[in-house]
C-alpha cells in the first residue's frame, strides 16, 4: 500500500455538480404533490398569545391547512422540544414549543404554520392571520437579565439564570498574592449570526406504505435530527430517515434541531402530502440561532518578566430565549482557557442568562474565539502595562515544545484532564513573525505616520480542540466491480469531506481516487452518527475510514493469500488488485475477491471469512487532538472617518498531518475572513423592546471581497499521536484568533491616541469617538 493521496492537494470530487448547476440542495428537491409552508412568527419579544384568528387566511385559495399549537394532535399539543445536550449544570434548560403555546419569548419564534399550494400563497395567507398578543416586559440586555429583580424572560421561571459554569483549577489566590503586576480587561464580545448563503430548509414526506417519514434537511447533524424529531413524534428512529443533501454552508447553527423540522413532519403526516419549508433570509436573522453577546471582566496576575501566573474573572453570557443546544456554547467558551499559554491558575465563572432574543448557539468556532479573544486581551494588557513587545509576551507565556503532551491543569466535561497532545507553539509564532515581516513593521509604521497615515500590527495565538468524540463511523465496501464504496453518517456543508475520505480510502486499498465513491449524511444508509461540528469530521471519519479500509485490505490480502496459495507477506494491494511483491507474478482483482465473499444461490463464503468484502469502524477518539496557530494582522486606520483596512494578514497554522493542504487553506482563509467580519462589521442590533433592527443585508454587514485582505499561510505539521493518521481538525483555526489580531492591530495603530478597545465589532463611529477622547486627553 502506498501513500499516494494523503498529503496531496487533490482537486475536489464535490466540484463538478456544484459548478454546473447540478447541485442538490433542499430547495432544489421536488416531490410529487409537494405543498409549501410559511410560518407565522412572534412579532414581540415577550408576549402572551390571547388568541389566533385564521379565518381570513383560511379563505385564501390554495391554502390547505393552518396549524397552531391548539390544533395539533393531543399528544403533541403543548409539548416542548427536548434538550439535546442535558447537563447537571443546566439549571433551566427551557426549550420552545414547536408552535408557541400561550407565551412567546423572542421575535421570530414559531407561532403558526400555513400549508398551501405555493410559498407565495402560503405567505399571502400567513399575512392574514391575526394573532392577539398581550405584550409583556422583555429583557434584552443580559447584564440586566442577570440581576435580581430583572424582568423575567419566561413568565413562570424564578429568574433568568440558565446555568453557572466555572473554569477553575490551580490556586488563583496564591498567584495574585505573588503577582508583581495585576492587569485587568473588560470586553464586550459580539459574534453575530450564521449567514450561510443557503438558509435553512426542510422537506418532510410521510410514506404510510412503509411507515417511514423521510426528512431532507439542510442540517449538519442528521442523526441528532433523527433522534430528537423521532422522540418528539414518539416514533422509532428507524421510522424516520433524515437526509442531508448538498448543504450550502453550516457554520454551527445548522447543527441544532429546530421546531420547523418537527412541524413539517407533523404536517406531512396530517395531510398525507410532502411539505417543503425554505427559510427566507429575513426569517434567518431571527429564526436561526446566532452567537452574539458576552461580557468579560478578567484580572491577570503577572510576574515581573511578564509571565501570567493566574487569571480570574466573570463572564455574563447571553443565552437568548431558549436552550436548544444545551450548554455547548458556554462550555466551549470556558473549556479552551487558558489557550496556548502555560497558566496554571484559573478561576473564571460564566453566568448564562436568558434574554428575550434569538437563542444563541455556536457559530464558527463556538466559544473558542471568545476564549482566545479574552486571553489575547490579557496578553495585550501585559504588553501595554509592562512595555513589552506583544510577540515577546506571547513567547514568554506559550506552552513550550518540550512540555507535550501538556496537561493544562483543567478537567474536561467528563472529568478527565485536558491534554494538549502535541504542538510547537513557538514554532508557529516564529513562522508567523517571519511571514508578516513583523520585525520591520516599526519602520513601515514610522514612515506612514510621517505621511499622516496610521498603520498598526496585532498578533493573536490560539489553540483549537478538534475531533471531539465519540465517533463518526464509516463502512468501506468493495463490490464485484472492484470499486470502493464508503458510507458514513458524516454530513458536509462544503468542507470537502468526500474528497478527503476518498483520499484516505484510496491510499489504504491501493485503488485510484476515482474508484472510490462516498455516500454521506443519510441516516437510511448508515446506522449511527454524530454531526459536523467543532472541526471533528476529518479526525473522526478519517480515522474510521482508515481503520475500516485497512481492515478491508487485510481481509483482501488474507483471502487472496488463500486463493492464490501465496504467503500473505509476499502480497500487497496495488492498482485495484492484490499482487505479488517484487517480481512475483500473481494477481487477483479486488472485484474478484469481493465476488467470492458475496456469492449468489448455491455458492459459499470461504471458511473463516465473513460475507461481503467490507468493514465498519466507529473509531473512538482517544482524546482530542489540538491544532494551534498564530495570526498577525496589519491594518491601516483612517483617523478622519474611523475606517479600518486590513492590509496584510499572516497565518502560521498547525493541524498535524494535513490530508489535503488545499482544503485546509480554504478553511483557514474562510475562517479568517469571518473573524475579520466579527471585528469590523457584523452586528445584530436589537432595540430596547427586543425588536431586531438588522434584518437584511444592507443593515447587517457581512465581509465582502473588496475589504478583505489576502491571507498568507505557512503550515507546520506536528502530527497528533492520538490517531494513526496523525491528523488534527482544521475547520475553525482561522476564525478563532482573527478578531483578536485585528483589534490588537487597531490599538497599535492608534497608540498615539491611547485607544483601548473594549468592544467588538469596532465601528468607524465608535473608533472616532475613541480617537477624539484620546485627542482631548493629549
Amino acid at each position: 500500500m502506498g501513500v499516494r493521496y494523503f498529503g496531496a492537494s487533490i482537486l475536489r470530487a464535490e466540484d463538478k455538480t456544484l459548478l454546473t448547476g447540478q447541485g442538490n440542495y433542499v430547495d432544489d428537491i421536488t416531490r410529487p404533490g409537494l405543498l409549501h409552508a410559511a410560518f407565522v412568527r412572534a412579532e414581540h419579544a415577550h408576549a402572551l398569545i390571547l388568541g389566533i384568528d385564521a379565518t381570513l387566511a383560511q379563505a385564501v385559495p390554495g391554502v390547505v391547512a393552518i396549524i397552531t399549537n391548539d390544533n395539533l394532535p393531543d399528544v403533541l399539543k403543548d409539548k416542548r422540544m427536548a434538550q439535546p445536550y442535558p447537563s447537571p449544570v443546566l439549571k433551566q434548560g427551557i426549550c420552545c414549543h414547536i408552535l408557541a403555546a400561550n407565551e412567546v419569548n423572542y421575535v421570530g419564534q414559531t407561532v403558526a404554520v400555513v400549508i398551501a399550494e405555493s410559498r407565495h400563497l402560503a405567505e399571502d395567507a400567513a399575512a392574514l392571520i391575526a394573532v392577539n398578543y398581550q405584550v409583556l416586559d422583555a429583557v434584552i440586555d443580559c447584564q440586566v437579565a442577570y440581576k435580581e429583580g430583572a424582568p423575567l424572560a419566561h413568565c413562570s421561571a424564578p429568574d433568568n439564570i440558565v446555568a453557572t459554569l466555572k473554569a477553575k483549577f490551580g490556586d488563583v489566590d496564591v498567584a495574585f498574592a505573588n503577582a508583581a503586576h495585576v492587569v485587568s480587561i473588560s470586553d464586550h464580545h459580539h459574534r453575530g449570526g450564521c449567514h450561510a448563503m443557503e438558509t435553512r430548509g426542510v422537506i418532510a414526506e410521510d410514506d404510510p406504505s412503509c411507515g417511514e417519514i423521510t426528512l431532507w434537511s439542510a442540517t449538519q447533524c442528521p442523526y441528532l435530527v433523527r433522534r430528537l424529531v423521532a422522540q418528539h413524534l414518539d416514533i422509532p428512529e428507524s421510522s424516520l430517515r433524515v437526509i442531508a443533501p448538498d448543504v450550502g454552508g453550516g457554520f454551527g447553527p445548522k447543527a441544532s434541531v429546530y421546531p420547523e423540522e418537527v412541524v413539517v413532519c407533523i404536517a406531512s403526516r396530517m395531510l398525507s402530502r410532502p411539505i417543503k419549508w425554505i427559510e427566507d433570509r429575513r426569517e434567518h436573522f431571527t429564526a436561526t440561532q446566532t452567537q452574539r453577546d458576552q461580557f468579560w471582566n478578567l484580572e491577570a496576575a503577572v510576574d515581573k518578566i511578564g509571565k501570567v501566573l493566574g487569571v480570574r474573572g466573570t463572564i455574563i453570557h447571553d443565552n437568548g430565549a431558549f436552550v436548544p443546544y444545551g450548554l455547548l456554547l458556554p462550555m466551549t467558551t470556558l473549556g479552551p482557557l487558558p489557550g496556548p499559554y502555560s497558566i496554571r491558575n484559573i478561576d473564571v465563572t460564566l453566568e448564562a442568562v436568558f434574554t428575550n432574543t434569538t437563542p444563541n448557539s455556536p457559530v464558527r468556532g463556538a466559544g473558542r474565539p471568545n476564549a482566545a479573544y479574552a486571553m489575547e486581551r490579557v496578553m495585550q494588557a501585559v504588553s501595554r502595562s509592562l512595555g513589552l513587545d506583544p510577540v515577546e509576551v506571547r513567547a514568554i507565556n506559550l506552552v513550550r515544545k518540550d512540555a507535550f503532551p501538556y496537561e493544562t491543569g483543567a478537567l474536561n466535561r467528563v472529568g478527565k484532564p485536558v491534554v494538549y497532545d502535541s504542538g510547537d507553539y513557538h514554532g508557529c509564532l516564529d513562522k508567523a513573525v517571519n511571514l508578516a515581516d513583523y520585525k520591520n513593521f516599526v519602520t513601515r509604521q514610522d514612515a506612514a505616520r510621517k505621511d499622516g497615515r496610521y498603520l498598526g500590527i496585532g498578533v493573536a495565538a490560539c489553540v483549537e480542540d478538534t475531533g471531539i468524540g465519540p465517533y463518526e463511523g464509516a463502512t468501506v465496501r468493495v463490490d464485484s466491480s472492484g470499486k470502493v464504496m464508503v458510507e458514513t453518517g458524516a454530513a458536509s456543508q462544503g468542507q470537502g469531506h468526500k474528497t478527503v475520505i476518498k483520499q484516505i480510502a484510496a491510499d489504504a486499498l491501493g485503488v485510484t481516487f476515482e474508484d472510490v465513491r462516498v455516500q454521506t449524511g443519510d441516516t437510511g444508509r448508515f446506522a449511527q452518527g454524530v454531526g459536523a461540528i467543532g472541526s471533528r469530521i476529518a479526525v473522526t471519519v478519517g480515522s474510521s475510514v482508515h481503520l475500516a479500509a485497512t481492515q478491508v485490505g487485510t481481509t483482501a490480502l488474507a483471502l487472496a493469500s488463500e486463493v492464490l496459495d501465496q504467503p500473505q507477506e509476499e502480497l500487497e494491494l496495488s492498482d485495484g488488485a492484490v499482487r505479488g511483491k517484487g517480481d512475483h507474478n500473481v494477481f487477483i482483482s479486488l472485484g474478484d475477491l469481493a465476488t467470492r465473499l458475496a456469492p449468489m444461490a448455491g455458492g459459499s463464503v470461504p471458511l473463516s471469512f465473513n460475507a461481503s468484502l467490507e468493514a465498519t469502524s466507529y473509531a473512538t477518539a482517544k482524546g482530542q487532538p489540538y491544532a494551534n496557530g498564530t495570526n498577525i494582522a496589519e491594518v491601516e486606520v483612517d483617523i478622519g472617518t474611523g475606517e479600518v483596512r486590513v492590509l496584510r494578514y499572516s497565518v502560521a497554522h498547525d493541524c498535524g498531518n494535513m490530508i489535503n493542504p488545499m482544503i485546509v487553506d480554504g478553511q483557514i482563509v474562510g475562517g479568517v475572513v469571518h473573524g475579520i467580519g466579527n471585528a469590523l462589521f457584523e452586528e445584530m442590533i436589537y432595540d430596547p423592546s427586543g425588536q431586531p433592527l438588522t434584518t437584511n443585508y444592507s443593515e447587517y454587514l457581512l465581509p465582502l471581497s473588496s475589504e478583505m485582505p489576502e491571507v498568507n499561510i505557512v503550515h507546520q505539521e506536528t502530527p497528533s499521536p492520538l490517531n494513526e493518521l496523525g491528523i488534527k481538525g482544521a475547520g475553525e483555526g482561522g476564525a478563532i484568533p482573527a478578531t483578536a489580531a485585528v483589534v490588537a492591530a487597531i490599538e497599535n495603530a492608534l497608540e498615539p491616541f491611547g485607544v483601548v478597545i473594549e468592544r467588538y465589532p469596532v465601528s468607524p463611529e465608535r473608533l472616532c469617538a475613541l480617537i477624539v477622547a484620546g485627542e482631548n486627553v493629549v
Binding site: H120, E123, D124, D280, L693, S698, L701, P764, E765
Partner: protein
Amino acid sequence: MKSAQFDYHKPKNLNEAIALLGRLEDAKLLAGGQSLVPMMNMRFVQPAHVIDVNGIAGLTQMSADVSSVTIGAMVRQAELLRSKVIARDLPVMAEALRCVGHFQTRSRGTIGGSLCHLDPSAELAVVAALYDAEISVQGPGGERVIAFPQWPLAYMMPSVRPDEIATKISFPLWSDPPGYSFVEFARRHGDFAIVAAACLINLDSSGIITKCSLSIGGADQIVHRLGNVETSIIGHLANEEIFEFAGDLAGNMDTMDDAYVSGAYRKRLVRVLCRRVLKKAVERTKSGGQA
C-alpha cells in the same frame, strides 16, 4: 419573501403611462427595479398595480451640446458609466457611479429611478444637486421642468406628482470645465454612503477660487448644496487652510440621527469629506492648485 399580488401593466408610450397613473389607485412605477422589487419581495410595499415603464420609447436617449448634457430618465447607470459623453462632460458623475451599488445592479438601475426614489445618500442626487440639474416631468397637464433645489421635498419624497413621470434630466455645463471630485464614506464597496460629498471648482491663474459647487448627501434627510461654504471660499487661495476652513464650516450643517449612525458622526464625516473633496477637485483643475 415573496411579493404580494399585484396587477401588472406595460404601457407602450408615455401618454398611456400617464393615463394609467391617473386612473389606477395605489400604483407604483417600475423602472430599474433595484429599489422597488426588494421592497416588494419583503412586502414593505404592496402596490395594487405595477406600471412597468421599461418599454416606453423616448426615455432612453442621451444628448449633449456645448451647454448641457440631457439624459433620459430610463438611461441605465451602466450605460452612463460606459458613456464617452459622460466621461468627457460629466466626469464627476462617472466617479460617483462607481460607488452606486454593484455592476449587476447598474445594468438595470436608472438615473430617473434613483432621483425619484431619492434615498438621502443617492449618489446621482448629489451630482444632480451639484449642477442644479433640471428634471423634466410629464403629467396629464403636460411637461414641467423642476430645478434640482426644488426637487427634494422631504425624506425620499421628490416633488413629482402622483400622476407624473420623470422623463429626462438636464445638466447645465460650466463654461470653464471645472476640477471635480466625488468622495463618499461607505462601510463596504457598493454600500449606501453614510455621507457623500461632491465638488466642482474653478480657479483663476493665481490659484484663487472663482467658482465652487459643493453638495452633500447622506448627512441629512435630503441632499444639500452647501451654498454658505461655497460663498465663503470664493475669492480665497485654494490651499490646505481653506480646505480645512471649508470642512469645519460644512460640519456645522444639521445632520440626522438614525439607529445605525449618529448625527454627530455624520458631522465629522461632512467635515472630513468636504476637506478631501475640495482638495481633490482642486488637484484636478487645469493648474492643479497651488504649487
